[in-house]
Symmetry: C2
Subunit: 369 residues, 2 copies
């Protein structure tokens, strides 16, 4: 059974990478399975941009199960009969933790643009404090895709003795201009939406339909989550409807897909927080604070299992391969392996083509690799 | 010297592929060099989405020369001392020909959304009528990239005896959902801009700064015109400016590039016409009207020289290769060749890396290939 807990941290001010201090802050996390007496059965799951603590199981009022339900659960690959699994909503996300539309203590106003810049390192730090609080000082594995993979990598570098294994999927060591460019479309689209009111919108006013600017930005995002090949397979040049006249006036399947996914998204995601999260992704660079990328990797003590996806058009497999290659140049070369998933699906494969890498993760957890 | 001519066609109503009739319509074209007595030195240049008739040379009031000036001119590869070169602004483009913000004869109102859907085939038909009017019934070559390449291909299929050689660059035989998806972001971004007023904006009102919605859509376009690799080389993770504090607050080079190219674009391009032109690209399918793609290609009598670009992320080289492969299955297999340009630049390479394919085009024109 899932247990959801909200922790409010008044005792420890959080020193952020920017130099700012966040106090108090709140983190929501969900756990699955039981912590054993030796506390050596913990697996940490780190979520992507729009994910949250609810990674597995389905609540009564939910249409869909948690975002990685295919992987996590009783008798599944990440077996909750065996492991104690924790997933926390990252700092900055509106889906459970303190974010830009949280109340700015001690006032009753929302932070909005007064919220500090949050980095992947900050997200990791807040989670580490949470784990300390729970008396967990060592975990079996940290597993996450996309922004979750960035967190896993940052855990590996910042807390070398914390995890036995680090399993980042579909991620990168430093966000490329290609990804920053997609995020730029979203940033401009949000900022230029009059209903955004320069960040001073009333969340109630946009609650029903959400912010259109975010919808359009999200469409650009969805292009990067798929790939040319996956779109060819999924949509082709098929029409949803057409009046039959030379097919000139129809609506393409891919257009319907983007309409649906674009316009439904802002109904459940806050635009200001989205800006903060894509900022965290844009400025992610694993070598920041170290002399070089190699120096950062040199710190790693965990086993590092990198999983790339052949047709990932957001964080290209060559980016994962580069981490692998750079690790080879360090004294830690025996700690790293790279597995490339043969998939046409694009970036989203880490969420939808679980069957293609689940046995690899099982082998890692079973100590076979 | 360039000669610019505007032709108003009152005599021939234009029957469009949609079944609609356009009457009258206007086409602006520019010519370079002299038509010889035998009229056998004509080269037709077809332009891309935002191009126009002004392909070469620089007018006194211009900062930049025509869009393919590197290729066309006296003693250049497309040598205007030798050839008579014609480039016409396509039907539907606001940069010289009849388009959605033209006056709807006999009223004094603008067409706006009453303008008919224009297809690549329609653009080609209008140009063919123009050439007939000029007494040109046979040309040496038709050369164009991107949407210009689509026109070249359509010429090859629709008018098999018109051109000796067809040279399409960085194009496709049928637009893929990947490209349609990028265009979708632009469509939604324009339609949702309040200043677009559902197409009833006063062009004067948006003349100074242009429509923001078009700017944002154009940013998405620019992503597809480059490539992951070209962005890595061109921008990396470099900042334009930063306050130095952990590099958390800087603006990335790639963001400046998109700001500049995005926001300057709507100042010189009309949003309604942009919608019509990307529609023409979306619905382009060389096999429409024929039983199959092979059947369409079977009609070709010209020599077909396909030029693809290795890292084209809009019209991928495999799309050009597919035309080549499909031609091999027809009785016209001896007419086709394929040349792949080794470039990291992405789609824009056909405009900016002319040196990489100009000698190939010269060899074609000189009859060496």
């Amino acid at each position: 059974m899932n247990i959801v807990t909200k922790v409010k941290n008044f005792t420890n001010p959080l020193y952020l990478e920017s130099g700012r201090i966040l106090e108090p802050y709140e983190i929501t996390y969900e756990t699955y399975g039981k912590l054993n007496r030796k506390k050596d059965n913990v697996i940490v799951i780190t979520h992507a941009l729009t994910g949250n603590h609810h990674a597995s199981g389905r609540y009564e009022d939910e249409a869909k199960a948690g975002w990685w339900d295919g992987l996590i659960g009783d008798n599944k690959v990440i077996d909750t009969k065996k492991y104690f699994v924790i997933c926390a909503t990252v700092l900055g996300s509106p889906r459970g933790s303190t974010c830009a539309i949280s109340t700015m203590y001690p006032t009753d106003k929302l932070y909005r643009f007064k919220f500090p810049v949050i980095t992947i390192r900050d997200m990791v730090k807040a989670q580490k404090i949470l784990f300390n609080k729970l008396g967990i000082y060592k975990v079996k594995a940290i597993i996450g895709g996309s922004m979750g993979g960035m967190q896993a990598l940052q855990f590996a570098v910042d807390f070398p003795n914390f995890a036995e294994s680090i399993i980042p999927l579909a991620a990168t060591h430093a966000t490329t201009p290609w990804t920053i460019a997609f995020n730029k479309v979203t940033i401009e689209s949000i900022l230029n939406d009059d209903d955004f009111k320069d960040g001073y919108y009333d969340p109630k006013d946009i609650a029903e339909n959400g912010l259109k600017g975010l919808a359009i930005g999200r469409m650009a995002g969805h292009i990067s989550f798929l790939s040319k090949d996956s779109m060819d397979l999924k949509f082709g040049r098929d029409y949803v409807e057409t009046d039959g006249l030379y097919e000139l006036f129809g609506r393409f399947q891919v257009e319907r897909y983007l309409d649906y996914n674009g316009y439904s998204f802002p109904k459940w995601f806050d635009p200001l927080s989205y800006l903060y999260l894509i900022k965290a992704i844009n400025i992610f660079d694993l070598s920041r604070g170290y002399d070089s990328f190699e120096d950062a990797l040199e710190r790693i003590e965990s086993k590092l299992y990198l999983i790339g996806f052949k047709k990932d058009f957001l964080f290209f497999p060559e980016e994962m391969r580069k981490i692998h290659q750079t690790m080879q140049k360090t004294s830690k070369k025996d700690l790293v392996s790279y597995y490339e998933v043969d998939s046409n699906y694009g970036h989203d494969a880490f969420l939808v083509e679980i069957d293609k890498f689940s046995s690899y993760i099982k082998d890692i957890l079973d100590g076979k690799i």
